[in-house]
Point group: C2
Chain length 261, copies 2
DNA sequence: CTCCTTCAGTCGTCTAGACAAGCAGGGGTG
DNA sequence: CACCCCTGCTTGTCTAGACGACTGAAGGAG
């Protein structure tokens, strides 16, 4: 095996920069120089302890730092690996264009096919609920709402968890309450019901996941989520659906086209 | 002072959940129940050690976990505090509408005024450079580009770092090379130069900041960044500007309006 | 009164060691 | 051959303690 010193220089004992930060710097540098490529295994804690002549907790501290930056990911019993960039799902702002609905495919399937990946939908759940204050405000305070929850996976990896809310007076006794609402998804059904869609408003934030979200999406530490709330409006200006989605940020690239006028 | 046991229950010694995770659970729970409100100081490490009967490293581990979730933030010599939600800057998709430019204000100032906050621009830097591969591809491989870098602050807090790239054949010998390009910003100048703007394409990702970005934006751990690359096109379909911006995710809420057609 | 020092409290860094738990491969057993 | 266990390597969890550095307030010196 190659010497560690081929990849990692010595520390600077005079500087006042904490030792574990210096070790993290060396590792970060080695990664960015390509000494360790995507998916490659870093030296084990024991090897780093040996190489730098520090205690194990110091080495672990430096690795925790790199994990929090999303650069590496530790796997119990195996080692620490440079986190590979997963295939990204490109979300374009025209993904809800009517022409896609009319092809009879849901937005997610269209996107996944374009990327050549295997799309799956999971943990589908359809219920009636009292709306939360937030959803209620967006939908014009309906008494009850239909909730459609589901998880999206790409090549077996969960990447998005979404919940749609529709006023029950719209969704009741329609295919929308079915687990599979049919070709084109619920937006196609809404238009068939006379709710011709006019536009969508999207609100977007990024933050760290809650522990629950991290579990559902199998997120490594150092991976944020994108939290997107979309409200669909029909041509009468009525909000007919709110979709609350939490996405694994490392799996997404969102694109929007804005008019300059 | 109130007893810690008023806020934090005991651990479950039988469960196989790690002790530091249980402590983090208790603290997280206490925060979400409002026992500790935004900006409040958590019990000190010493108090938690005492209360739970564990070693200090275990307590520190649990606090590190909460920090990585963005829930709390430790301040050297002072304590650990529930991270307050900063005022957010709402970025609307019409922020580049011509009517805003024609009012003679830059997009950032308009937004900040609307939020009632004090906007500042900082670390302005204007240079000529050879474009990176990425910028070059977007701008149609110009020989050299004009780079305008700057940092935006709101109420004294840095929230965004941005770099604009323009083909030098467009920007040379125009007010665009000036530190202050004049009312309406560089987009107004571009239109005066005959490059009537048609649309913008935005590409958006979320990720953890690099150490450098964390320094520039004074980011606490557990705060991701939104990385947005915007390309401006004129009515001839030519890309006339690329703007690469890195935003503190906790300071932003982005909104977009998408047509349904 | 102002300024400085001191000090207690707090988190930051680091050590040395121990045992647990997950993983993979070798080798023995059937 | 197929299966299982054992062993060695890996990271995960936890302990007990030491010193450093920063903060803010109390108290003393001028």
């Amino acid at each position: 095996m190659a010497q560690l010193s081929d990849h990692l220089g010595p520390l600077d004992p005079t500087g006042d920069r904490a030792v574990y930060r210096q070790i993290a710097d060396r590792l970060r540098e080695a990664i960015s120089r390509g000494r360790f490529t995507e998916g490659a295994k870093l030296p084990s804690e024991a090897e780093l302890v040996e190489h730098f002549g520090v205690s194990r907790m110091t080495v672990r501290n430096s690795i925790a730092l790199l994990q929090s930056e999303g650069l590496v990911s530790a796997e119990h019993g195996k080692g620490v690996f440079v986190r590979p960039r997963p295939p990204v799902r490109r979300l374009a702002s025209d993904r809800f264009a009517r022409r896609h609905r009319e092809q009879g495919k849901s937005a997610f399937i269209v996107e996944a096919d374009a990327a050549g990946s295997a799309p799956t939908v999971d943990q589908l759940e359809v219920r009636e609920e009292r709306p939360s204050a937030e959803v209620s405000a967006r939908l014009g305070a309906p008494h009850k709402v239909l909730v459609r929850k589901r998880r999206y996976l790409l090549d077996g990896r969960p990447i998005e968890y979404a919940a749609s809310y529709l006023p029950l007076d719209i969704a009741r006794d329609t295919p929308i309450v079915q687990p599979n609402p049919g070709p084109g998804g619920i937006y196609a059904r809404l238009e068939e019901l006379g709710h011709t869609l006019d536009h969508f408003d999207e609100e977007l934030r990024a933050r760290m996941p809650t522990p629950q979200e991290a579990r559902h999406l199998h997120l490594a530490s150092g991976v944020p989520v994108i939290h997107l709330v979309r409200t669909a409006f029909d041509t009468h200006g009525r909000a007919v659906e709110v979709c609350d989605t939490v996405m694994a940020a490392d799996a997404y690239l969102l694109t929007y086209r804005l008019p300059a006028t």
